[in-house]
């Protein structure tokens, strides 16, 4: 970054945005200079992606202003953003796999030939080829995008951005699916863009990469702007503490140590493609094991693999010391392993049915009378017992589940698994979408279950929750376990160090 480092291309001031009443961004600011890479960091849900989606016209802002070259603009749509020279490469690539690279790049702006009716495929391919040449990229414009590797697909997205003569390029976690060599290629292209004066906003969790590529870092937390620092002269610790927030000292971890001696679950050298790489951990009866990590670290994948929902490549699972083969959720339940998915509505509950039916749904066989008739009285009694035990707040067991609060719905899912005698339970984000009061009830319930000797894995993206609830914490990054710490005495900084340890993950 040499010339014109003085006037920012983009200035965002006092920007706020909320989704159905929930604040996502509160009074945020951000600026972008010509020829710089400006990184955006923050924990999951900090608001980085939302901010960038507003800048690129995907969302509309509620209040605040966006200045381009010092002039206030209104970016109403992705097309308007493109007209202003702003392009975004979304975390999930937005390509049409069945179309060619050139067709993808010029979608919506196809060059026409004769009569303005027919498409001019030759011109299309030549224009794409010219952009690839500018990028020093050797790629056939006619190749179908679906047959390319993720890294090459990303190059196509970048080419598309460049085809708009973009001055501002936003990249949302561009290296999430790339290997080291591919990351090096990407960085080469980014440096080249920088030297041409393109301003790049770069969202990433990966500290080591940012040290290579970023000029400045802006940290966000809980939808707020925390601060902007130069990358080269700022210590990693300081950035992490900005992300975590020193003042955020939640309720301390003072749960009694209920771990007993017998091992409930042992997982050894579990592998599944790139998603799960040599994962080993153990879980005792009465223990709550926290699984921390950033989104996409592979925590849900591990739970699903152990539960038999996804096939594994290799690895060994022992339940109560006995080696078991779990090939389907049905096998898992036989071995008393339960998985409470993160998306209750889609996978856990039939929300249009009543409380009792949901609780007994997966144990229906037990409530069949002679001749295959359903034992309605038995179902009612069993459901009522769990409603009482778990303190589910519902007018009756005939109430439709969708009418209950998120916390009570979560309890019904728990009841369902308890009724199936599952005592090794994976909770995937058990408090997502639940209000604060209900959260503490779920915490109490988890503690009570642990005290009864159930073995619990709790996957959570909320660090304070993991710290408060877990006896032990396992941290994952990129499909590997990068660290394990005892729950007592652990800090958010420690966990974030492990969770961003990309290099260690690669080297291990």
């Amino acid at each position: 970054m040499s010339e014109s480092a003085a006037t920012p291309i983009v200035t965002i001031r006092n920007l706020s945005k909320s989704f159905s009443g929930v604040s996502a961004l509160d009074d945020c600011q951000f600026d972008l200079l010509s020829g710089e890479v400006h990184a955006l960091m923050g924990e999951n849900g900090a608001g980085k992606s939302t901010l960038m989606k507003i800048l690129s016209g995907v969302y509309r802002r509620d209040s605040g202003e966006i200045l381009l070259d010092g002039r206030a603009v209104d970016i109403a749509s992705p097309r308007a953003a493109q007209a202003h020279g702003i392009s975004i490469i979304h975390q999930e690539l937005t390509l049409m796999n069945h179309l060619s690279a050139a067709q993808n790049i010029f979608i919506g702006r196809e060059p026409r030939g004769r009569l303005g009716v027919f498409l001019d495929e030759t011109a299309l391919n030549n224009q794409a080829r010219r952009i690839f040449e500018q990028m020093h990229l050797q790629l056939d414009p006619r190749v179908r995008v679906g047959t390319l590797s993720v890294a090459k697909q990303q190059m196509v997205e970048i080419a598309k951005a460049l085809s708009f003569d973009s001055r501002v390029l936003i990249m949302d976690e561009p290296t999430a699916a790339l290997n080291n060599a591919e990351v090096a290629d990407l960085f080469r292209i980014i440096r080249q863009l920088k030297s041409r004066g393109v301003a790049i906003a770069y969202i990433s969790h990966k500290m080591d990469e940012l040290q290579q590529i970023a000029d400045r870092v802006t940290v966000m937390r809980d939808g707020r702007y925390i601060g902007t620092v130069p990358m080269a002269t700022t210590r990693v610790d300081r950035i992490i503490s900005m992300m975590v927030g020193r003042e955020l000292v939640d309720a301390p971890n003072d749960i009694p140590d209920t771990s007993r001696q017998d091992m409930a679950l042992e997982v050894r050298h579990l592998n599944r493609g790139a998603a799960i790489r040599d994962v080993s951990f153990s879980l005792r009866k009465g223990e709550i094991l926290g699984f921390a990590g950033l989104m996409g670290a592979g925590r849900t994948e591990v739970a699903r693999a152990v539960f038999g929902a996804d096939p594994i490549d290799s690895g060994e699972i022992r339940v109560y010391g006995k080696k078991v083969s779990i090939k389907s959720p049905k096998d898992a339940v036989v071995h008393r392993v339960g998985y409470l998915s993160e998306d209750r509505k889609h996978f856990g509950l039939a929300s249009g049915l009543d409380v009792a039916t949901n609780i007994v749904l997966s144990s229906m066989k037990r409530f069949l009378k002679l001749g295959g008739l359903v034992d309605a009285t038995g179902i009612r009694a069993a459901a009522q017992a769990y409603v009482k035990q778990l303190q589910i707040k519902t007018p009756s067991v005939e109430q439709q589940v969708r009418l209950l609060s998120g916390g009570n719905q979560q309890k019904i899912v728990i009841a369902k698994w308890l009724l199936r005698d599952c005592d090794i339970l994976f909770f995937d984000e058990p408090t997502r979408g639940i209000d604060v009061g209900a959260k503490s009830e779920i915490y109490k319930l988890l503690n009570a279950l642990a005290e009864q000797g159930k073995a619990i894995v709790m996957i959570s993206s909320e660090l304070p929750e993991v710290l408060r609830m877990s006896h032990r914490i396992v941290v994952m990054c990129e499909g590997r376990i990068t660290g394990e710490v005892p729950g007592r005495g652990a800090t958010q900084e420690m966990i974030m160090q492990f969770a961003t340890q990309r290099d260690a993950a690669k080297a291990a």
Partner: protein, 342 residues
């Protein structure tokens, strides 16, 4: 890799063997070859099984019946490539035939207005389906199921539940029955219906592969969200696709009415499944994004050769229906297998 070196993202150029391999192992091409091979196998089988099969009359009859289903299947191809479905094409075809009957027989207007009416009302109904799907966000399956019933009812109401005959306009039956080709080449009395199928197929193929509409048809089926984020008016193009689909159904309506020399209001339901089956057999994926008109035509021929052959072998009508059902299930299952591999 040093920073000055260009990134090596070259797609390996295959040799001759590689090229042949890639042609045969490209899933879309393989499906088409497979479909074409099945068609040949069927034809060989039936000509061995029955001496009547290869008779010129029978060939013409196969071509005739393929014309209607083929044109409907071409209409469906567009919609299915976008990842949608249209269950109303059968009853829409009938509705268009009835509207032609209204214009020609009830009102006694000249024939070109009858032709215009069929295509116009087809496009209008397709437009309506498009609005329901793109604007009101009703799932295509439900929206077109509703249209299917609605149009069936309307056809019966408008016609007074009786067939409308085109006795006042004798030239109407020439649309499908006469042979323009036979006029020039007397040894090949191929009916006009087949010529029309061929012309519609060529036009549809050009639209699909050479125009913006075709590009967006594939793009929508491949990744609708990506198209939207690229600043393309997704709703508009969807409506255009369904309108085109409707207009082509209007052509099918003309063909069938001309062949029967009447608009049969009770006819139509069931044709949509034959058409969709032809599309799927021809290698167009029900999940959208891929498909060809040529494949669809081959699929339509497979359907009619099968039905015709069974009839010639004196298989009972009921059993022909059973076989059609099995073929549809098999075709959809191969589509699922294909999708699973991708």
């Amino acid at each position: 890799m040093s920073s000055t070196q260009p990134v090596d993202l070259v797609v390996q150029r295959p040799g001759v063997i590689g090229a042949v391999k890639s042609i045969f192992f490209d899933p879309a091409t393989r499906q088409k070859l497979l479909a074409f091979a099945s068609l040949l196998v069927l034809m060989v089988f039936f000509s061995v099984a029955s001496p009547n099969f290869l008779q010129a009359d029978n060939m013409v009859s196969i071509l005739q019946s393929t014309a209607v289903n083929g044109v409907l299947a071409i209409a469906c191809t567009f919609v299915i490539i976008t990842g949608g479905i249209d269950l109303s094409v059968g009853t829409l075809m009938t509705f268009c035939a009835v509207m032609a009957g209204v214009v020609l027989t009830f009102w006694g207007l000249p024939i070109y207005l009858g032709i215009f009416a069929a295509i116009f009302f087809g496009a209008l109904c397709g437009f309506t389906s498009g609005v329901l799907i793109a604007k009101l966000k009703i799932p295509p399956f439900i929206a077109t199921l509703g249209m299917m019933m609605l149009l069936k009812g309307l056809s019966l109401v408008i016609s007074g539940t009786k067939p409308i005959y085109f006795n006042d306009t004798p030239e109407f039956s020439a649309i499908s029955q006469d042979s323009l080709i036979g006029y020039f080449v007397s040894s090949a009395p191929i009916p006009n219906a087949v010529l029309i199928l061929f012309l519609v197929a060529v036009a549809a193929s050009i639209v699909l592969n050479k125009t913006l509409l075709g590009r967006y048809t594939f793009a929508l089926g491949s990744n609708e969200e990506a198209v939207r984020l690229s600043g393309v008016n997704v709703a508009f193009w969807k409506i255009v696709v369904y309108s085109l689909n409707g207009a082509i159904c209007g052509i099918a309506g003309l063909l069938i009415a001309s062949r029967l020399n009447s608009a049969q209001p009770a006819l139509g339901q069931g044709y949509e499944l034959d058409a969709i089956a032809a599309v799927v057999i021809g290698g167009t994926s029900l999940s959208g994004g891929t498909g060809t008109i040529l494949g669809t035509i081959i699929g339509a021929f497979i359907m009619s050769v099968l039905i015709n052959g069974l009839r010639i072998m004196s298989v009972a009508q009921e059993w022909q229906t059973v076989v059609t059902g099995v073929i549809i299930i098999l075709a959809v299952y191969t589509d699922i297998l294909r999708r699973g591999k991708q």
